[in-house]
């Protein structure tokens, strides 16, 4: 490998926040004239790596080289001077300024000490013409689509920095046509000799546009490979990793005869969120939901629970038509949802463990039928014991508990309502190993007791361990169901990696 054409390289980068290793010996490099995809699930360390390259964070150890020379990137301005420009997913521009002003803000051409608008407009036009964009540069940026704003941001970054361009999920809010436009600009810049770092969750796009792939997982480098030499299945398995834990052995489950569904959704969907899907879940069944980040897993959960409203489709429970227009409706029907983001949508941090556990039940009973403190305490004590919630006492604010115990508190909140259909979105994310195994055991037990469960998880081994059926999502489409012997980590990965348009 010729290192001289490496524009930027990072070697053996380590970084820890509060003792938690975010990057653990990661190598990364960008060559001149390549589009380099940087991939990994949530928490893999992609954004920390980018922030180190752009000077937002300093590495604990390891070296960053720019053009072969070791440097310490002080801040984003310094990174720009070194030639590294970044465009974030949420465009970092000022929508209420004109396009030209956005391109030249902080370095406006001046004449007699005043901003020379004419020169600025002309230079803006010339700059954008390189990208085949011909728009009125004196109009407010907000008038243009996200795609154009993105391109303006890229034009500015390239003009400022000029050797390495980092694109952080640039396609997340673009439609197909806009993505094509962006890709053509990326290819053009690559041919001019820039090195482009492309971060995305869409695997098809990775294969469409990138030359090389680096995969991170849990802060470690999983592999670097030319795109053409890496199969999609291998890529997915690198991203999701394979951990073999004895506790997640799949039990031999009796082949379930076709039972009457408890809840059944048909043609349920919402545009820009999740394509219409059919889903039946019977009592005593765990449907595992697998898919990469951004594949529509959480959107599915939100739709089923009435947080978002379906634009089309119908739902039935016990054969009767139901309407779910809010979480309150869902709860009345006996649904429960442990949301993905525990801190934002789950716990009520300042309230006590006791109140957090009693909350959903109290909300369902209505404000007039107050649960006395003693009733709440009895309920909380029962679940603290049953789920082994580790807390010194039930009056402690729930925010002081560890992640795993907070998750158990939210589970307890729903179990207290005696749900018939429970949706768990990433129930084991960010919790310690012990609590992890306990929650998996709990899912199995609830299933045996006849509850219907839908469990979303990024941990394939975990899904394999408890699911009676696995629903695979890809690019916001429910695309495949796996049953019986098809349920294995390999099978799920193959399904996730399958070409779009494969048999549903």
């Amino acid at each position: 490998m010729n290192t001289t054409d490496e524009l930027v390289s990072a070697r053996d980068i380590r970084k820890a926040f509060l003792g938690y290793k975010v990057l653990d010996g990661v190598d990364f490099s960008v060559r001149s004239g390549e589009i380099h995809a940087l991939l990994g699930e949530n928490g893999a360390g992609k954004s920390t790596l980018i922030k180190i390259l752009t000077g937002v964070h300093r590495p604990d150890s390891g070296t960053v080289r720019v053009g072969g020379e070791a440097v310490v990137v002080r801040d984003t301005l310094h990174a720009q001077q070194l030639g590294i420009g970044t465009v974030y997913q949420e465009v970092n521009l000022l929508p209420n300024l004109t396009v030209a002003e956005n391109l030249f803000i902080g370095r406006q051409p001046r004449r007699f000490g005043l901003v020379d608008r004419k020169t600025m407009s002309e230079r803006a036009k010339v700059l954008l013409a390189q990208y085949d964009i011909h728009i009125d540069v004196s109009a407010d940026l907000a008038r243009y689509s996200v795609a154009i704003q993105q391109l303006v941001a890229i034009a500015r970054a390239v003009d400022l920095s000029g050797s390495v361009l980092i694109l952080d999920e640039p396609t997340a809010s673009l439609d197909r046509h806009e993505v094509e436009l962006l890709f053509s600009v990326m290819r053009k810049l690559r041919d001019r000799g820039l090195g482009i770092v492309f971060i995305t969750h869409f695997l098809d796009q990775v294969y469409e546009v990138s030359d090389r792939i680096t995969v991170l997982r849990n802060g470690r480098l999983m592999g670097i490979s030319p795109t053409a030499a890496l199969s999609k299945v291998d890529l997915v398995s690198m991203m999701l990793g394979r951990t073999l834990a004895a506790s997640t052995e799949r039990e031999k489950q009796p082949e379930t005869e076709r039972r009457e569904p408890l809840v059944s959704f048909s043609n349920y969907g919402r545009s820009r969120s999740i394509s219409p899907f059919d889903l039946d879940i019977a009592a005593g069944e765990v449907v595992g939901v697998a898919g990469l980040l951004g594949s529509g897993r959480t959107e599915t959960a939100r739709l089923l629970f009435g947080v978002d409203l379906p634009e089309k489709g119908s739902a039935t429970m016990d054969g009767k038509t139901i309407r779910i227009a809010s979480p309150r409706d869902a709860i009345r029907l006996g649904f429960g949802l442990c949301p993905e983001d525990r801190k934002i949508d789950g716990i009520i941090g300042d309230l006590s463990v006791r109140e957090n556990i009693a909350l959903a039940l109290q909300a369902r009973r209505g404000w007039l039928r107050r649960m006395s403190s003693r009733e709440q305490a009895e309920l909380a004590d029962r679940f603290v014991k049953a789920l082994d919630i580790r807390t010194t006492d039930i009056e402690k604010p729930v925010k002081l508990l560890s992640g795993g115990n907070q998750q158990k508190v939210i589970l307890a909140r729903w179990l207290a309502t005696g749900p018939r259909f429970l949706i768990l979105d990433e129930p084991t994310r960010g919790i310690d190993v012990g609590a992890h195994a306990e929650i998996i055991e709990l899912i199995k037990r609830l299933c045996h007791e006849g509850m219907a469960l839908l469990v979303i998880s990024s941990e394939l081994e975990e899904i394999v361990a408890y699911s009676t059926r696995v629903r695979v999502l890809r690019d916001r489409v429910h695309c495949q169901d796996l049953t019986g012997d098809e349920i294995s980590a390999d099978g799920i990965m193959r399904a996730i990696a399958a070409q779009t348009g494969a048999t549903a």
Binding site: F305, V307, P327, R328, I331, L337, P339, I344, D345, G346, I347, I348, G349, D350, L351, E355, L359, A360, Q362, A363, R364, R365, G366, W367, L368, R369, R370, M371, T392, R413
Partner: protein, 339 residues
Amino acid sequence: MNNSLASGLRRATPQLISLAVILFLNWLAFPGFFDLRIQDGRLFGSLIDVLNRGAPVMILAIGMTAVIASKGVDLSVGAVMAMAGAVAATMTVEGYPLMAVILTALAVGIACGLLNGFLVAVLDLQPIVATLILMVAGRGIAQLITEGVIVTFNDPGLIFFGTGSFLGLPMPIIIAALLAIAVILLMRRTALGLLIEAVGVNRSASSYAGINSKLLLIFVYTLSGFCAALAGIIAAADIRGADANNAGLWLELDAILAVVIGGTSLLGGRFSILMSVLGAIIIQAMNTGILISGFPPEYNLIVKAAVIIMILLAQSASFAGIGGLFVRAPSAAKKADAS
């Protein structure tokens, strides 16, 4: 029960000590401060005065507590007071019966609260902006109602709400006390208090848990509007007239201050109506003290600011070491946390 009483007292220590110090200083400035006497079957004295003068802010603070607990704020209460007072005075002058006057004035407050609640809960406006609308417009509406003049009245029925007495106590005190008891029962004997706290701490998570956060938000602003109208009636009855320009002027700030002194966080969550009422009493004790001590009234605001800073420092756990006077409460709280 004894336990919760003890912990409640411990929580209130900084406020109770502050009040004691202020009352003591008042006594130094005016030796007759603690004297009470009965005249015409009614209690008189500076202490009674403090409670009587403080009643409107106490009443505002009761509604404001619920709003702040929901992570909001209601800047319109002063203007709503002016509107309710204007309506009450104008209708009285035009000869409407007392009951109709009171009910209409209260209905005005409720309508204002519903509007604020709608703006915050349904249109998702920031509370400070949403209630700013009525804060500005409300006073204008009040001026339209009174047609720009101070409407005075002599109806003994309405005046009774401001200067009458019952069981030896001035009516404003009776009304504030009854309202405080009623709202405390409403909040703590039903689940409303808990649900409001939950929405205040984390609205999104509360919605996921099945709480109807929109309705609750509308409720707290409506309660605040109702309280403001009640305070407006008392203020108008007290001066026997409605002054659209000055009735309730700046009182929204006193009400917010009372809630903050009472220890309810502006970030929402845990609240105590009783502590907010105590906060209102502290503010009024300070006002009265400065007046009777013979300081020029212009010192009032500055002294008030200084005292407030001291009270807030005393409550702040991070200043536990500095506020040697009040050191007991924060350190006790810390011990409880550590155990």
